[in-house]
Structures are given as structure tokens and as C-alpha cells.
């Protein structure tokens, strides 16, 4: 781009907002082709049980019921796909409908197809399943004890896999240390809880032998390839549409039983089949996130230099794997050194089966776990060494001159200036004044705490080889004959706002107005094969594909303009809806005129075909590594255990920002979600494997009235991994916030001698920790 960007970097409001706010958006449940039948499932109420018998006669006879499916009728459907399989991992086969046993509460056993949704649910309640309840195991540590109740009868134990990662020499590093700090920490299981639950509508047209599958997903092409495979259909006879998708947070980066089931049934019956998840089902059967319990050891010199870091961890898999269950904790391993120079690291992970729904990607996916334990340990070490939490962090940061920075976990951090982000945050928070405020409050018997998290995370999921395949993204840019531009993206945004930011990218490169650019995504018949939106890759990888596709179209338009003006294509420029010869403004034509030339094709430049439509598949050369500093001020009421967040200052460096408003939106939501995990969220199970709090009446999400105004700042350290210089921002808020909030609470409680409490820091837990110290 020759001219200064006009749209890139501008805080333009999301195009989606008006339709979302006015209720004009179309989610899966808003599509109702004539003749649609509805599916409902009878699900296991037990964590583990034998199925003695299934009697569907009453359900089948109920009003409006068209068909009933059990394992027997659906056993031809391929099992739920599992990716990222580790060597030596035990891989249980997850059937579409349970056969002889159910292994978690919510597991579907029978599917009922009826004329109405109500009718289907009523009939599902009439299915008679004779269960023999068995002992279930839900606790991670109990599950791995020798002789524990087993999840899978066929396996020797509940050990799903062992995985390790080591860099340097941890033993030597521990020997070198003056002090070794240890702690056991838990990252509890939490539910992603996208506001739109899952949903699928499958419609097979027998005459055309073609199926359309509307599904609430982050990865429409993956769904197409994998679901088509499950039901034995060529994938090019299936069209997957991800219409408006109301959030995913990783939970819709997956292939679920109901998708294959609906696809299978519509092919059998030849009518549209719809299933929309209820919130209760969402809690029970959509993947959960986190679920790690581990022992951490960190060695340090007296001056705060970290010499070694070890994490021995149990990772909760659930009963079966979903698509990326096995990949998530490897990200924890890769990010173990965080933003610090730690030469010696080690992670020893044991995967554990439990009678619960699978864990998988949830906003941050593996990195929040790593950041949490590391940032907590930094504070614990600071207390031990009598250092300020700021000082100990600074001591271990690499300098900006050391980038690209190779870590002991084997990654190369692209770019960074960790000191600068920390400085900016300290300044914005006025750290000395905050400490003074804390001191003053303590003298009044009030407990204020200041928490830090200096994080780095791994984003822009690619390159392909590092991901075990498919780390690229695709885009096609078409300039229409009338000079409008259309972007077809293989990414599948679901709230992130790329309909706006991709338009900004194209508008700048082509010198047109962003309002003249339309962005299309989430339809496999329309967009090039794509990977999807997850791992903060939508803009970083998907947007970069748009840049290249746009530039190809631009180059082609330049040839047409060069022909028209009898100039060199290299001298053609684009600005304000005009195409012109640089330095010769009289040689200028409207953007649409040149576009029309390319379509009329009466005259063609040499070696040039008609039309203006170009595709690019972008393969990044590395991940990107956004970073930042979050500072939180909290007050703890020691009598009630209540935590109130008084201030939240965040400096996030996400590289170049295409649209700062969208960046802020992502940071806001991310911080809120991370705060939820820190203070409230936790999936709880009874002994039989039944969730205790699987509803919004019981499971507390962070609400606006419990959050302060966020004070958001940025530093900008671009990456050279992609042409945008952007690093990704989808998960940064979640990753940075959880440890910052917990560190603040622990800092507040330091007068009681408290150095650690496991998340979530619910009032009762905080109160008990204080009571214990007071006793």
C-alpha cells in the first residue's frame, strides 16, 4: 500500500451490531424450512450406568412422533472424530448413541424425531431406559489412584496418556537455586457457555443427492469433511453453513454427536431435521475447559533469577475425547516459561479419564492454565524472597533486543517489549499511589490487594507443521463489475467482528470505501476451503490471506489501468475510488470503470484473463506472541469473604490493531471471562457424576455489575510473521486476567499470612482461609 491507511487502525463500529441488537440476525434456530421435524434426545441421568434395556414403544406411539433411533439404528455412523492424537494415548470410541453403557451424565441414548420441538421433548421423556447405575469417578486425583473405580471397563486404569516436555536441565537448575518454592494448584473445570447454545439443522434433498447442514460452529469446513465422513457421504455433496453464531469460545471448534445424527436422519427421512440445544444440555454435553491439578516447583536465586520450573500435572479428559482434547494441555507445556527467561523447564502430564463430558478448547485453551500457575508462582516466590512482585518479574524478562527470543520450551517468540508494557501499566495505575492506598486502608482495618499478571501467549494458530496440519487460512477477494468488493473468507468469525475489519483491510488496499466491501464467511459452498476461527487466528491468519488475495486483485486491476493509460502497471495507484497513474493525476479513472473493463474484456492486457477474483491460502511462518501487563486492585471483606474489584488496568500489546474498538471488545469480554474463573466459575459434580450446578441459576457467570470500568492501554510491537503485523487478541484478556485477580486477592490477604488459595475464590473459601489462619 503506497498511501497511508485510512480504514486500518480506525475504531469503526461493528457492522453486526445493528442486526444483533435489533433481533434481526439469523441463528440456526431461526431457519425453518417447510416440513422441518425436530429431534430430542433421551440422555443419561447417571455418571456411569449399564443399559439393561431400552423400550421406545411409548415414545414411538406418542402424538406426532415420526421416528425413534437407538444405538442399533445408528451404529453405522462413524464415531465422534478425535484429532491431535498423541502416541500411546488410549483412544476410546465415542458412539453417536450409547450402546451398553453410558459414561457421563447427559450422554445421549435415544433420539426422537417428531413434528414439533415440544412433541419431541415430551416423547423423549417417554423413552424407558432400564439403567443399572454404577460407581462413577469424577475427581481427578481419585481417578488416578491405583484401584480407582474405572471409567472404561476395558482399560487397565483411568490413565489416558502420558506426555512430557523438557527443555534444559531441570535437576541442574534446581541444584543451582538458592530457594525452591512449591505449591499445588488447580485450574477447575469451567463451562464455556456461549450465549447461543449449539444447534443444527440438516436438510437432505434426495433428488439432488445434496445436503445442507446449518450448524452453530467455528469450523464449517471441518464439520463438512468430518461429518460427511461419519455418515459416508462425499463431502462435496454436503454444504455446511455457519449462520450467525452466538459465541463459541472454543466450544464450537468441535464435531458433536448431534451433527452427525441430524445429518444421518435427514438422509434417511428426506426432510429437514432440527436440533437446538437447551441450556441444560449445553452444560451437560458441550465440552468444558481447563481441568488441571498439578504440583509446581520453581527454583530461584536470591536475586529473583529463576533457575528451573517444573509442573507435574493431571489433566482431566472426561470420559471421551472430543476433537482437540489431547492438544490443549500441550499448549500449557509450550507456554510454561511465559514471558521469562527460564532455561530449565519440565512438564509431566498424565491424562485422566473421568465420568464427565470431555474437556477441550475454551478461550485461551491451555495458555490460561500455564499463565495462572506461573504468575501465581512469581508472587509466591516474591513473598518468599521479600521482593516486590514487579521487581521479580522485571528481573526475568528478556530485553527487547533479545527477540526473536528462543524459549526452553522450543518456541521462538516473534517480538516483544515486556518492560515497556509493564512500565506503561505501572504508570497508568500509579503503582506507588496504589500501594499507599493499600497501606492506608490496612491501617483502617480494610484489606486491599494489588495483583499483577505479566503474560505472553501464543496466537495466530499456524503454522501447519506445528499444528499437525491446517495452520493456514484462505480468502478470496472479488471486485464486482460495479466496483464493489466482496471478501470470501475461510475463517468463520462468530462475534469477533471480521465483517468489519476485513472490509477495512480491503478498502485500504483498493482505495475504496469500507462500506463498499462485503464480507462473506461460513458457507462451504461459497467460500474457499477454510480452517476456521479459533486460537486468535481469525485476523492474524485469515486477515493475512485477505491481504494477499486483495493484492492479487489489485495487481490485476493495475494491469487493466496500465493498458488504459498506456503506463507501467507498477505506476498505478488506488485512492478515494480512483485508479490513476502516480504523478499524473490527469490519467485517472473511476475504480468501477476499471472493474467493468476487466469484466467486459473487450480488450485484455497481455497474459491476463478476464474477471477480478483472486484466492490466496496464507501459511504463516510462525505463531504470534501477544503480551501485556494487567494490574488489579481489589478489596476483600474478611468477615464475609466477598471480593470487590476496584480497579482494572490492562496494557495489551497485540501488535498492529486493525480496529481498536474490536480489540477493546475482545479484551473486555476476555477479562470478564477470566475474572469469572478466578472468582466464581466451577463445574461441580456429585458422587454419582451428576453436575450440581448445571444451570444459570446455580453457575455464576461474571456480570457487569460486579466489574469495574476497565482502563485499557496498549503498546504496539508489530510482528513480522504476517503482512498485517497483527498478533491476535481473542484470548489475551482471559489469559491475563485470571492470575491478576487471584494475585490481588492473595495480596489483600497477606496480613493473615495467606500465600495461596485455589480458584475460584468464592466468599466461603476466602472466609475459611482467613478463619484457618486466625484459629
Amino acid at each position: 500500500m503506497a498511501q497511508a491507511p485510512k480504514f486500518i487502525g480506525a475504531p469503526i463500529k461493528r457492522r453486526d451490531d445493528p442486526r444483533l441488537i435489533q433481533g434481526l440476525a439469523h441463528y440456526v434456530d431461526d431457519f425453518n424450512p417447510p416440513g422441518t421435524l425436530h429431534m430430542a434426545c433421551a440422555r443419561s441421568p447417571y455418571g456411569k450406568a449399564n443399559i439393561r434395556s431400552v423400550d421406545v414403544s411409548k415414545a414411538a406411539a406418542a402424538d406426532g412422533v415420526v421416528a425413534v433411533y437407538t444405538h442399533e439404528e445408528t451404529k453405522g455412523i462413524g464415531p465422534v472424530p478425535v484429532g491431535a492424537v498423541l502416541p500411546d494415548a488410549k483412544v476410546p470410541v465415542q458412539p453417536i448413541l450409547a450402546d451398553k453403557q453410558v459414561l457421563f451424565a447427559g450422554e445421549p441414548v435415544v433420539a426422537v424425531i417428531a413434528e414439533t420441538r415440544y412433541g419431541a421433548l415430551d416423547a423423549a421423556a417417554l423413552v424407558e431406559i432400564d439403567y443399572e447405575p454404577l460407581d462413577a469417578v469424577v475427581d481427578l486425583e481419585a481417578a488416578i489412584e491405583p484401584g480407582s473405580t474405572k471409567v472404561h471397563d476395558d482399560y487397565e486404569s483411568n490413565e489416558a496418556f502420558k506426555w512430557g516436555l523438557a527443555g534444559g536441565d531441570v535437576e541442574a537448575g534446581m541444584k543451582e537455586a538458592d530457594v525452591i518454592v512449591k505449591e499445588k494448584m488447580t485450574n477447575v473445570r469451567v463451562a464455556p457457555l456461549a450465549l447461543e447454545p449449539r444447534g443444527v439443522l440438516a436438510h437432505y434433498l434426495p433428488g439432488e443427492d445434496k445436503m445442507t447442514l446449518w450448524t452453530s460452529t467455528q469450523v464449517p469446513h471441518k464439520v463438512r469433511t468430518l461429518v460427511a465422513g461419519q455418515i459416508g457421504m462425499p463431502e462435496n455433496r454436503m454444504r455446511v453453513i455457519a449462520p450467525e453464531v452466538g459465541g463459541g469460545f472454543g466450544s464450537k471448534l468441535n464435531i458433536y454427536r448431534e451433527e452427525a445424527l441430524a445429518a444421518f436422519v435427514t438422509r434417511e427421512l428426506g426432510v429437514p431435521i432440527k436440533w437446538v440445544e437447551s441450556r441444560s444440555e449445553n452444560f451437560l454435553t458441550t465440552i468444558h475447559g481447563r481441568g488441571q491439578v498439578g504440583e509446581i516447583e520453581m527454583g530461584l536465586k536470591r536475586d529473583g533469577t529463576i533457575t528451573a520450573f517444573r509442573y507435574n500435572v493431571l489433566a482431566d479428559c472426561g470420559a471421551y475425547y472430543q476433537l482437540l482434547t489431547l492438544a490443549i494441555f500441550t499448549l500449557t507445556g509450550l507456554m510454561l516459561p511465559g514471558p521469562y527467561k527460564i532455561d530449565n523447564i519440565e512438564m509431566n502430564a498424565t491424562g485422566v479419564f473421568t465420568n464427565k463430558v470431555a474437556t477441550d478448547a475454551y478461550r485461551g485453551a491451555g495458555r490460561p492454565e500455564a499463565t495462572y500457575i506461573l504468575e501465581r508462582m512469581m508472587d509466591i516466590a516474591a513473598v518468599e524472597l521479600g521482593m516486590d512482585p514487579v521487581e521479580i518479574r522485571r528481573k526475568n524478562f528478556p530485553d527487547k533486543s533479545e527477540f526473536p527470543f528462543g524459549t526452553s520450551a522450543g518456541l521462538s517468540y516473534d517480538s516483544g517489549d515486556y518492560h515497556l508494557a509493564l512500565d506503561r501499566a505501572l504508570e497508568a495505575a500509579d503503582y506507588p499511589a496504589m500501594r499507599a492506598q493499600q497501606e492506608e486502608a490496612r491501617n483502617d482495618g480494610r484489606y486491599l490487594g494489588i495483583g499483577f499478571s505479566t503474560y505472553v501467549e501464543i496466537c495466530g494458530m499456524g503454522p501447519s507443521a506445528a499444528l499437525g496440519g491446517q495452520g493456514w487460512e484462505s480468502a478470496r477477494v472479488r471486485v464486482e463489475p460495479t466496483g464493489k468488493a466482496t471478501v470470501f473468507s475461510g475463517a468463520s468469525p462468530h462475534g469477533q467482528g471480521q465483517q468489519t475489519s476485513f472490509a477495512q483491510i480491503v478498502a485500504d488496499g483498493l482505495g475504496i470505501d469500507a462500506n463498499d466491501v462485503t464480507v462473506v464467511h461460513g458457507d462451504t459452498d461459497v467460500v474457499p476451503y477454510g480452517v476456521g476461527t479459533f486460537g486468535s487466528r481469525g485476523t492474524v491468519v485469515g486477515g493475512s490471506a485477505v491481504v494477499y488475495a486483495r493484492d492479487k486483485v489489485r495487481a490485476k486491476m493495475a494491469k487493466f489501468a496500465a493498458m488504459e493509460f498506456e503506463a507501467d502497471a507498477n505506476d498505478i495507484d488506488f485512492e478515494d475510488g480512483k485508479v490513476f497513474v502516480r504523478g499524473a493525476p490527469e490519467k485517472s479513472a473511476g475504480f468501477a470503470d476499471i472493474a467493468m473493463m476487466a469484466y467486459s474484456a473487450i480488450a485484455l492486457p497481455e497474459d491476463t484473463d478476464p474477471g477480478l477474483e483472486e484466492t490466496h491460502f496464507f501459511e504463516p511462518s510462525n505463531f504470534t506472541f501477544p503480551f501485556g501487563t494487567h494490574i488489579v486492585l481489589v478489596e476483600v471483606d474478611p468477615e464475609t469473604g466477598d471480593v470487590e474489584i476496584l480497579r482494572y488496568v490492562a496494557v495489551d500489546d497485540v501488535g498492529n490493531m486493525i480496529n481498536p474498538l474490536l480489540v477493546h471488545g475482545q479484551i473486555h469480554g476476555g477479562i470478564a471471562q477470566g475474572t469469572g474463573q478466578a472468582l466464581e466459575e466451577e463445574m461441580l459434580y456429585g458422587e454419582g457424576g451428576q453436575p450440581l450446578n448445571a444451570s444459570f441459576m446455580h453457575y455464576a457467570l461474571p456480570k457487569a455489575n460486579r466489574l469495574p470500568r476497565f482502563e485499557l492501554l496498549h503498546t504496539t510491537t508489530p510482528t513480522d510473521v504476517n503482512p498485517l503485523g497483527a498478533k491476535g487478541v481473542g484470548e489475551a484478556g482471559t489469559i491475563g486476567s485470571t492470575p491478576a485477580v487471584v494475585n490481588a486477592v492473595i495480596d489483600a490477604l497477606s496480613p493473615f499470612g495467606i500465600t495461596h488459595i485455589d480458584m475460584p475464590l468464592r466468599p466461603e473459601k476466602v472466609w475459611r482461609a482467613i478463619a484457618e489462619k486466625r484459629a
Partner: protein
Amino acid sequence: MIPASFDYVRPQSLEDALARLGEHGDDARVLAGGHSLLPVMKARLADPAVLVDIAGIEGLSGISESEGGIRIGAMTTHAEIEASGLVQEKCRSLAEAAGAIGDLQVRNRGTLGGSLAHADPAADYPAAVLAAEAEITVAGADGERVVGADDFFTGTFETALGAGEILTSVRISAPAARGGSAYLKAAQKASGFAVCGVAARLALDADGAVESIRVGVTGVAATAYRATSVEEALTGSAPSAESIRKAAAGAGEGVDALDDFYAGADFRRHLAGVYAARAIGKAWIRASGK
């Protein structure tokens, strides 16, 4: 989840509503704001065959002055009670309890009568009506009767309401010349229901001694209760922050407290003491005009 199917009637008069209830017996349930009944039906823990919606009955809703106190119709919403100047003036704790319920959507739909009739052990109003010594009017096939708050809550989700009866209004007496009240709670963070809620209403004599005090506690035990030991300890002398604190500790003592994943029994008993102290302290400050 989705409820099982049911019939719906919307009578226009109390007589008609009572008749419908009589006709369908156990199969019928009164529908007020629906914010306790519908969640239970959606979870299929209840499947009444007929819902008798009482929203169309004239005179069941509204707040009016009555003999220096107030009379509140059963169908008055939490939001109306929260915002009412009259309630704020006559019984601040009730307005505060209403304002502490759930979230705005819940407060816009849920009703005083519905909440009292439902008698959820974690509901906010029971503490406030106990502390205010409210009189609850109930209509049945045989006419009206008045039940004192102390006799109204008989157990978890159980009240003095008889089969086929409709709660029609709640009356609260005039506040004392030097009176004050307050309601404070620890909310369960998901729904907003009380893990512990305490309402205190007190009157001071000319010398500043406590003439009368009533303390209602909700969320702590299987049913809302009065902390009578606290009331007794404080009656008759001029309070101080210290005396309130000491007396209030008794609010949870010896109580057979609920024990669940929101809060263990000992934590609830502890909270009862903390919130009693804070609510009484606030009521006292209000009464003494400090």
C-alpha cells in the same frame, strides 16, 4: 428445558379464580409472575394441568397507605415495591429486600404474593415481612382471613396458605416515630437468591433505648426465622456498635443451617451474625437520625 403441556385460564375476578381453583383442586396452580413456578415446570419438577393466571384480577395490585402503614397487593411487582416512595418511607427494609431480588428482569415480573406463597428458603421478602410483623390476607372459598407473618412460613416451600386459597395483600403497620429498618444480604452469585439475608426493624424511645426490635433471617435455614435471642438482647437499652455486634452474633447460633455448595452450614451461621450486625446497625442509624 420446556414444560409439559398445560391449560391456561385468566379469570377476571377473585371469585372466579377461587372457583377455578376449587374446580381443579390439586391439578391447578396459581400463576403470578411465573418466576418461581415456570422454572420449576421447565425442570419438570411440577406439571400442573391448569394454570390460573391472577394477573387480570382488578385490585390485586398496587401500594396504598393504610392506617399510617401500607397495604400492598399480592400482584405488586418487586420493581414497584423497590421504587415506591411510600414503601421507602414506611418500611425501608421491604423496599431494600425488593431491590435486592435477582436482577431487573426478575424484579419486573416477580410479585410479592408469588414470592411469599412460594416460600423459597432463600427468598428475600420473608426476612422483611417477619421483621415488619406484616399481616398477610388470604382469600378462600369461605372468605378472607388474616395470617400474621410469624405464623405464615411453616417450612421449606410451605406456608399457612390452604388448598385453593389466594394471597391477596400484605399489610405493614405504621413505623414508630423514631423507627428505622434495613435489609442486607449475601447473594448467591448466579441467581441472586439470598445465601443469608437479614432484615431488622426497630423503634427507639425518647432516650434512645430500643423499645422494640424484630430481626428476620432468610437463606440460612430451611425456613425464614426471627432471631429472637438477638431481639431480646437488644431490647430495653441504648445500643452501641459493640452491643449490636455482640448481640447479633446470636442470629445464627444453634440454627440448623442449610448446607450446600453455595455455603456450608457454619459459614451460613457466621454470615447470619455478620449481616444481623450490619442490618441492625443500619436500622439503628436510620432510627436515631444519625
